[in-house]
C-alpha cells in the first residue's frame, strides 16, 4: 500500500533492495531454499530497528525509528525480541522545546518517547561494527542476551534502517559508512547460518519530503509517517493471522 503514495526515488531504491535481497536468496542453492521454507515452521518475530544519525537537526530519523518501534511493540512483538539502536539524544536535548517528548506530527497527539522505550544500543554504541555483529550473531562473550539477535531458522525478522544515505551507502553517526555490499554480506551470512525464515528490509533515508513543526526541525519523513498512520488504524484484535 505504501508504494502507491509517492514517487520519489527512495521507493525505487526500496523496491530494488527487496528485489536484490530476493535475488540473493535465489542465487543460493534453490533446493535448500525451497526445502527450508517448506519444512520449517514460523516460530517467532523479531525486529531490528536502527537509527544511524545523531544531533538535533536529525530529529526526524529518531522519530522515524521510534514510530516503527511503537508500531511493532503495540502490535505484538515484545521488547525482548526487539533490538533498538538509537543515538537517543533528542528527548533530553536542551534544544527540545518539549523535554522528554518526541513527536511525529504538528498536532503533538502522539508522544513517541513515552515511559517504556527500551533502547539496546544507545549513543555512541550505534556503530557499523555493532550492527554487523547483531545481524551475524558474532558477539564477544560478555555481550548480554538483550543485545543479541537470538533468532532461529523459523524467525521472521523486520530490519528497519533510517538516516542519511547516498549512492550505495548509509551514513552512521557522522563518522562511518555502511556500504551496500557490507549489508549484502551480512544478509548472506544470516542465510548461511539459518538465522531467519523471512527477512523484510525497510530503509528510509533522508531527502524524502519532510514535515516541519513547532519543534523547529523536520519531524519525520513522509514514508514512515504514512506507515505509522496506516498501522495506527490496526490493532492486535483485528489483524489477520
Amino acid at each position: 500500500m505504501w508504494f502507491k503514495i509517492y514517487s520519489n526515488n527512495m521507493v525505487v531504491w526500496l523496491v530494488l533492495l527487496l528485489l536484490g535481497s530476493s535475488l540473493l536468496f535465489s542465487s543460493i542453492d534453490s533446493a535448500s531454499l525451497s526445502s527450508s521454507t517448506d519444512t520449517t515452521m514460523h516460530t517467532n518475530n523479531w525486529a531490528v530497528l536502527v537509527c544511524t544519525s545523531r544531533f538535533w537537526f536529525n530529529y526526524r530519523h529518531m522519530a522515524n525509528t521510534l514510530s516503527l518501534y511503537r508500531t511493532v511493540k503495540r502490535l505484538g512483538i515484545p521488547d525482548e525480541r526487539i533490538i533498538l539502536m538509537l543515538a537517543d539524544d533528542m528527548a533530553c536535548n536542551p534544544r527540545n522545546k518539549y523535554p522528554a517528548q518526541v513527536f511525529n506530527n504538528e498536532n503533538h497527539r502522539l508522544n513517541l518517547y513515552g515511559d517504556n522505550v527500551e533502547v539496546d544500543y544507545r549513543g555512541y554504541e550505534v556503530t557499523v561494527e555493532n550492527f554487523m555483529r547483531v545481524l551475524t550473531g558474532r558477539h564477544e562473550a560478555a555481550v548480554p542476551r538483550s543485545k543479541r539477535l537470538l533468532s532461529d531458522e523459523g524467525s521472521h525478522i523486520l530490519l528497519y534502517m533510517t538516516g542519511h544515505g547516498g549512492d550505495e551507502f548509509l551514513k552512521f553517526q557522522d563518522s562511518e559508512e555502511l556500504q551496500s555490499h557490507d549489508l549484502a554480506d551480512a544478509v548472506k551470512q544470516m542465510k548461511e547460518k539459518r538465522r531467519f525464515k523471512e527477512l523484510l528490509i525497510m530503509v528510509d533515508t533522508c531527502q524524502a519530503a519532510t514535515l516541519f513543526n513547532q519543534v523547529g526541525v523536520s519531524v519525520v519523513d513522509r514514508f514512515t509517517f504514512y506507515t505509522l498512520a496506516f498501522f495506527e488504524r490496526l490493532n492486535i484484535m483485528t489483524m489477520p493471522h
Binding site: F55, W56, P94, R95, N96
Partner: protein, 716 residues
Amino acid sequence: MAKTETEKETPKMKPRPIVRLGIFLISHSFLVSVVCCTAGVLALLLLPVLAKNTYISENALMPGSASSLLSNHDIAEANRLVNELSSLNLERKDAGIESQKILARYMSDLGAEVSYHKFHPPQNHFHPLHFFSSPHSGIIGENFSCSSYGVNTVGIIRSPRGDGKEAIVLVTPYNFGRSDSSETLSLSIAYSVFSLLSRVTWLAKDIIWLIADSQYGEHESVAAWLRDYHTPSFTGLVSLNADACVEGNNLYISKDNSVVQGKISDGFGRAGTMAAALVLKVTDRNGLWDDTLSIYAEASNGQMPNLDLINIVNYLAVHRQGLHVQIQKFWSDLDLKWLEFLGKTFELLGKVARSLNPNWKFGIPASDYIEGTTTLASSLYYQALGIPTGPHGAFRDFQVDAITLEISPRVSSNNKARRNEFLLRGGRLIEGVIRSVNNLLEKFHQSFFLYLLTSPSKFVSVGVYMIAFALLVAPLPLVAASLYADANELDFGMKNDKYTPMDTASNEINITFRSWKWLSAAKEVFVVHIWGVIVLLLPYFICQMRDWSPTTSFVSWVFLAMLSLLILYLILGSPFSHGYSLEKGEWAMLKSVTISAIFIGLLLMSVVNFATAEIGALLMVPMSLMAQPLKPDIRAASLRSFFRVICNLVLGFVAFPPVTFFMLKGIFEGPDCINLGDFWNWLESLWAWNSATYIYIGMVHLPCWVLCIHILLHSC
C-alpha cells in the same frame, strides 16, 4: 672522420615548453600587459554578473523552521520599562546611574545575573607599535584619568538544561542619561527578547545582553568589555584598571538597596565562548516606504564574519518578517550614465548568449547590474579602508562572528499600535536569529569568510574576485623581466660597436659590471622606501602639537616629507651619479626594479587585506607600466609619443594619494566642499584604528609613486 664530426656536433636542445612560453610572453610583454590589464578591469566590472545567490551552508542552522513565540505580552513589558526610563528627569546629574539601576532591577527580576563593567576610554595617541600589537595588550600601561569612565551593564541568562560552555551575545549601545527615543526603542526590543528567552525551554547556550555605555563611543565600550572578558584575572580583584580608582567603584555599587544587591555583583560575569554576536541599533531615518534593516558586516582590516550569519538574518528578515533589507551602497543618488550603458550592454550580451544556447544563463537586468556595482564598490571600499563599520568589529578581533543590525521604522510616529508592531517585528527577527544560532554545535565554519556582497542575497567568493586581481598583477613580473633583459642587451649592443672583438678582457669586466647594475637601481628603490617609512612616522611628532588644525597638520606634514626627501637625496649622495652614468638603459633598470617592488608589495598586501590590494593595483599598475621618461617623447613630437606623454601625466597625477582622495570626494560630494584638512582627518582615522591600509599607503603606494615620477622626469 665524418663520424666524429657528427658526434662533435651536438644537436641544439629545444628548451622545455614552459621556458619557451615564458620567453614568448616576455618578448611580447607590451601586448600581454595591455591584454591583461584590460582583462583585469573588465573582470572587476563583470563581478556583479558573476555573483551567486546566497544559501545556508550549515545544515544545523535551519532558520525560520520554528514559529516565533514573541507575543504582545512581552512588548507590553518592554513598554513598561521604557516608560519608567523616560519618566526619569534627565536634568539630574546622576540620571545615567539611575537608568542603569532601573535596567538592572528589571533584568534581575527576570532571573538573570546582572553585573557592571567599568572601563576607561583609551587616549587617542598615535603610536607606531600599535599596528603590530594584539588587541589584548597595550591598555594596561596607559595613563588614564580616574574621573572619566564608562559603565556597561551586563545581564546573563543561563540555559536551564545546557552545558554552559557557549553563549550568544546581544549588544545594544545606549547612552545612559542622555539617550533619545530611538536608542530606547532598541532597548525595548532587546528587553522583550531577553524576557522571552528567560522563559523558553529550548535554550542550549547562555544568553548575554550587553548594554554598552556609548558616551565614549560604541566601539570602545564593546572592545573594553571583550578585552576584560577574555583576560580573566585570578587574584580575586576585579581588574587593575578599576582598582586604581577604587573610590568610584565602591560608591557606585554599595548604595544599591538590598533586594537588588542579592543578584548584582561587581565580579565579572562570564558565560563561556561566544558562538555569535548581534549588535542592535534602532535609527530614525525618515522617508522610508517600509521598515528597513541595514546590515553592517566589515570588521578591522577588511575581515568579514561568516557569510552564514548574514544569510540567516537576510532570510529571516525577508521571508519571515517582511522587512526591507539593504547594505551600504555608494553613488545611489548619482545618475551614472556610463554605468547604465555598461549594464545595458551586459544585459544585451546575456540575451544574445541565451538565444544562441538556452543553457547559458548569465545575463542580468541592467537595474540589477547597477545596484550590484554600487554595492560592490561600497563593499570593496569599506573593506579596503580597514576600519570597522560598527561595534561588531570588536568581536572579530576575538574570532567571534558578529554583525550590526540597524532597524529603522517606516515612519517615526507616536502611534502606539504602529510602534508596537515595529517592536514585534524587530523582536521576532532577533528571536529567530538566536534560535537558529542556538542549534549550532560548532563555530561557524561551513560558509565563506572571504567574499564581497553585491546585494543582501548575492555574493562573490574569493575564488572569483581573485581572478580580477591576478589579471591586473600578472603583467608586472613579465614587464620587469623584459625591461631587465632589454637594459642588459642594449648596453651590450652599444658597447659591442665601440670595442674590438680582441678586447675580451675588458669585455668580460664590462659583462660582470653590467650584471650587477641592477644593484644601483635597487639601492635607490630601497632608499625611497626608507623615506616612505619616515613619512609614515612623521605624524607621531605632528600629533604632539595638540592645537594645530587639520589643515595646518597636513601642510606641515607635506613640507616635512619633502624636506626629508631632500635631506636623504643629499646625504646618500644621489644614487643617480655613478661611474657609468646616464646610459639609456638605466631608467629601464630602475623601472624594472620598481615594478618588482610594486609586485611584491601588492602580493603581500593582498594577503593582509585583499580589497586594499585590489584598489591599489587599479591605481598603481597602469601608471607603473606606462612610465617612461618624458623628455624623449617631448623631443620626438609624434602623435604616439604625445599621447603617451598625456597618459603618463594624467596617471601620475591621479595616483598621488591626496589627489585621488580629493578627486573622489569632489565627484561624489560636489566640488565646493574640498578642504585640505579632510585628508588629514581621513588618515588620522586610519591610524587610530590600526588599519594596515595606512602602512600600505606609506610603504608601497607612496614610494612607488615617487619612483614613477622620478622615471618620468629622468633626464637622458
